[in-house]
Subunit: 179 residues, 2 copies
Amino acid sequence: MSKVGKDEIIRAAEEVVREKGARKLTLDAVAAQCGLSKGGLLHHFRTKQALLQAMLESAVAREGGCAADYLARAGDGPGTALAARIHSMFSLMQDDESLPRSLIAAVAEDPALLEPIREKEERVRREICASVKDPELAQLLLFASRGMFFARVFGLMEPGDPQFERLRERLLAMAADID
Amino acid sequence: MSKVGKDEIIRAAEEVVREKGARKLTLDAVAAQCGLSKGGLLHHFRTKQALLQAMLESAVAREGGCAADYLARAGDGPGTALAARIHSMFSLMQDDESLPRSLIAAVAEDPALLEPIREKEERVRREICASVKDPELAQLLLFASRGMFFARVFGLMEPGDPQFERLRERLLAMAADID
DNA sequence: CAAAACCGACCGACTGGACGGTATGGTAGC
DNA sequence: GCTACCATACCGTCCAGTCGGTCGGTTTTG
C-alpha cells in the first residue's frame, strides 16, 4: 500500500506549518496531511516533542549536507568554509522553508529543543573563525546570511526580490576575498 | 488605586513569553501576571489577536524611538540612517527582548499579524538604500545586525559573548565609512 | 441637593471545542 | 503466531471567549 515512513511525516508536518502556521501544527493536522490516522502517526513518533525534534534534526542534516556538497565542489581555500555556510543558508531559503518553519514551531513549543542547534552553531562559528585571518568580518558575513534567512522566515523579504540574488553574490564575493 | 492600563498588560504579556515560552502565552497567564481577572483583561483586549497586535505595535514603536534618539544625537551624515538602525537593533538586544518574544508569539499564532512589520521593514530598507552610495553593502550590514539579533532571540548567542561588543563596534565602524 | 439613571472597569463561573495522549483491536508479512 | 503497522474510539486537560453580575464614580433630573 502507501507505506508512510518518518520522512514523509516530517515533510507533512512542515507542510502543515507552512500552510496553517506554527500554532496549528497539531498531531491531527499532521496525520491528516500525510493520510494517516492519529494512532498511526503516534506509532512513529510517540510524542509531539519527538516529532519536533525529528523535524529539527532533519533540517539541520540537510543544511550540513548542503554545506558539504559545496565544500566538495570548491576546493578548500581560506574563505571556503565560510562560503559553504553562506551558500547552504541561501539554499535553505530557496529550496524549501523546512528549517525555518520547524524552528518557529519548535521554539514556540519549547525553546529547549533548540539546544542541538545551538551547539552546531557554536561549532560552525569556531570552524569559520579558525579558517580565516579576519574572524570578525567572517562572522559578520555569516550573520548577514542568517539575517536574510530570518527575514525570509518571517516573510519580511520576498523570494522574488531582485535584491536577493545580488546580495547573495555580493556576500559570496566578500567571503571569497576575505584573506 | 492599582490602575491597570493597556501598557502594563503588554508588559505582562511579554513577561509571560519570556518566562514560559510563546506557547504558554495564554490569556489566563497574562491576566495572572498583571493581577487581573481574565474578564478584566478581555475588557481591554477583546480578543487574543488584538493583544498580540498591540504587543507588536508597542515593540515596533520602541524600535523606532530608539533609532530616532540615535539620529538626534548624531547629525545626519551619509551612513547615519544605517547606523541608527543598527544601533537600535543592538539596543533591543540588550535592554530587553520584548520585540523578539512578541515576534515569535505572533508568528506562531498567526503569521498575518506580521504585515505591519513587513511594511516597516520595507520602508527602512528603502530609506537606507537612498541614503548611501553602496546600497548592497548597507543592506548586508543591516542584515548582519538582524542576524545577530535573531541569534540572540533564539539563544544561539550568549549576551556575555566577548565577540559581541567587538562585532557591534565593527559593524558601526563599517556603517560610518560606507561612503 | 439628592435620588435616579447611567457608565466603564472589572470579576469569575461557565462552555464548547481543540488537542495530546491512551487503549484496544484489526491486519499484513515473516 | 509474532511483530510491525495502522485505525477507531475515547479521556482529561487546557484555553479562548461568553455572560451575567458587582462596584465605584459621573451625569442627569426632579
